[in-house]
């Protein structure tokens, strides 16, 4: 039996140790290997968590982000499921119900109500052409959301490929690619976007029409559904807006590719493709998602800006920006026509920004101070 216990990690004096452990009562059993259930007691009882579970837990704790998420979901339901419940079509002009205030009924509708019929109210009123504003708002929100998400995905694809190539190859390639990126970054984007959407429009129209009405292929049909302006917006995003994403991805790749686990994988003979797939991508994916999410409001913002200036989506299709623009004429008399789409746009932008911030903090906690 040893006379002195040595606990090097704590560096306690002998008297202290003697106080802590009553040496006289120690038996041989105390030095036997611990039984299995004792060992299990040492393992924390908490469930082990994967990256996504952990991120979700962090996100859930962020109350602002959760509220923003709920708001986004509500707007998505409003925009995509809403038109199923409203009996009015967004492009249809109801001649008998022009310029109705919210919840107001036209004379003919009032007559039908008096006759005992049930008439769906124009919750947000109607515009000068007799179109139901609620139906239009739903479609407008849908267009804005779709443009935002698609543009963000486009930015994600281009930006991450550019950034990853730049970061992985390194050297002269990286230097040249970064100089190109800096040049693009200093081009005032909105000016080019405006110019592009104006000058590309006739070309695209001519291109779509060149197929004739009957034998359009899928690409031309897609273009004609989108309309030239939205296509121009996408082109602008593809040309100008991926720089932030490329920078983020390049930074991540540069940081990761020299870390020990990548070196170890390389030493074990992993191919470049395997390293990208198994080591770099899983570590980048969090910041990629967060950056994509923050790209959505900027796309919505740009689309509404262009629509407001009259170069966005084309009638009869509508977006929140063009609804605001249309409402500007009768702003003082029909304030609600401006306020409703503007408010939805604002809430949408705000919640996407707040949610994106929260998502970034949750997915990439290293960034958070």
């Amino acid at each position: 039996m040893p006379k002195r216990l040595k606990i090097p990690s704590l560096r306690l004096s002998d008297e202290k140790v003697a106080q802590l452990i009553d040496i006289g009562t120690l038996t041989v059993q105390d030095f036997a290997p611990a039984p299995q259930d004792d060992k299990e007691d040492f393992i924390p009882k908490a469930k082990s968590m994967g990256y996504w579970q952990d991120a979700w837990r962090r996100l859930r704790r962020n109350r602002v982000s959760m509220v923003a998420l709920v708001v986004i979901l509500l707007i998505i339901i409003f925009a995509f499921a809403g038109p199923k419940f409203v009996p009015y079509k967004y492009q249809e002009q109801y001649r008998s119900s022009l310029n109705l205030a919210p919840m107001e009924y036209s004379a003919s509708e009032q007559a039908r109500i008096d006759a005992g019929e049930k008439v769906f109210p124009h919750v947000f009123g109607t515009d000068t052409h007799g179109r139901d504003i609620m139906a239009r708002t739903m479609v407008g929100a849908r267009v804005s959301l779709a443009i935002g998400v698609l543009a963000a995905i486009l930015v994600l694809i281009i930006g991450s490929i550019y950034g990853a190539v730049s970061g992985l190859v390194g050297g002269l390639t990286d230097a040249v690619m970064m100089r190109i990126l800096e040049i693009i970054a200093s081009i005032p984007d909105v000016l080019v976007v405006l110019l592009l959407s104006v000058s590309i429009k006739p070309r695209l129209e001519a291109f779509v029409n060149s197929f004739g009405a009957s034998n359009k292929n899928a690409f031309a049909r897609g273009l004609s559904v989108l309309g030239p302006s939205i296509t121009a917006i996408f082109i602008c995003f593809a040309i100008l807006y991926w720089i932030t994403m490329a920078r983020i991805i390049r930074g991540q790749v540069l940081q990761l590719k020299n870390q020990e686990f990548v070196t170890a994988a390389r030493a074990l003979g992993a191919s470049q493709w395997r390293i990208i797939r198994k080591h770099l991508l899983p570590n980048c994916i969090g910041s990629m998602i967060a950056a994509t999410c923050l790209q959505i409001p900027s796309a919505i913002f740009l689309e509404s800006f262009l629509s407001f200036l009259g170069v966005g989506v084309q009638a009869p299709l509508t977006s929140l920006g063009s609804m605001c623009s249309d409402a500007l004429g009768g702003m003082y008399t029909y304030t609600y026509r401006l306020v409703i789409p503007a408010a939805i746009l604002l809430v949408l932008l705000l919640s996407f920004n707040l949610f994106g911030d929260g998502l970034r903090d949750a997915l990439d906690p290293r960034l958070k101070k």
Binding site: R179, P297, S304, A342
Partner: protein, 313 residues
Amino acid sequence: MIKYLLKRVLMGILALFAVSAITFFLMNLVPGGPFLSEKAPSAAVLAKLEEKYGLDKPLYVQYGNWLKDLAHGDFGVSFKMQKNRPVTTIIKEMFPVSLKVGIYAMIWAIIFGIVFGCIAAYHRGGIIDSVLRVVTTLGVVLPTFVTASILLVLFAGGVWKILPSIVGAHAKWYAYILPCFTLGLSPMCNIARYTRSSMLDALGQDYIRTAYAKGVSNRKVIFKHALRNALIPVVSYIGPMTAYILTGGFVTETVFNIPGLGRYFVQSISNRDYPIIMGTTVFLAAFVIVMTLAVDILYKFIDPRIDLAKEDE
């Protein structure tokens, strides 16, 4: 230092070239030449005209000529809105108006942004800080046209009719309140956020602890010791702010009917007056690029701690 300056100037020139090339080739995407009006000229006349204006030459020669004209300050002539007036004259006439509104907006954005940022940092963690944070976040995401319309409804007719909604050529000073407020709101909120965070950074520094230790009051520490250093990062925001105010000007000038270059640009877009669109794009892009460059260089002079050699990394 000189290496950095050279590099930045070179990048700026390259960016200008990129803008001009994009502008030129996009313009040539547009079908229909400048001579196609209601009375279509005969083929012989058209050929003669194209020869005269050099349009029969290959595109790259045209681009070279266009650049040459550009270097001489010649943007071509308007062919729709103010027929045959040189674009340069139009820009000279309209830009000062935009500049005036833009500078007023910038001044209010900078002053109030810094003040609100300081107040938020002073009350950090308190209720005032939280309120300011919500308000500034809202202000950053608020699109200019929404702000403009809300203000118009509130102050120019819908609720109270106290301010004019239209800013004409000879408007009184108070007519500029609404457009300048609109234009400056988002930059103001951004500046407030920047000031707050850089102020909190500065407050963590050792010299602040020293100041507190020798008994300087909280107010004096914040507004004298911390503010001077906290303002440096704010300067770097002035570059992007110029770009923002410029593009915000398109909307603001349209909504408030200000006879500036921004409104004219928007009108030229709906009128498809391509020389004006092009000329204005190149001019404004050059303006933004030069401003950003100037601010960045200025920034290096203001803060000598920034190591220019390391900037190349």
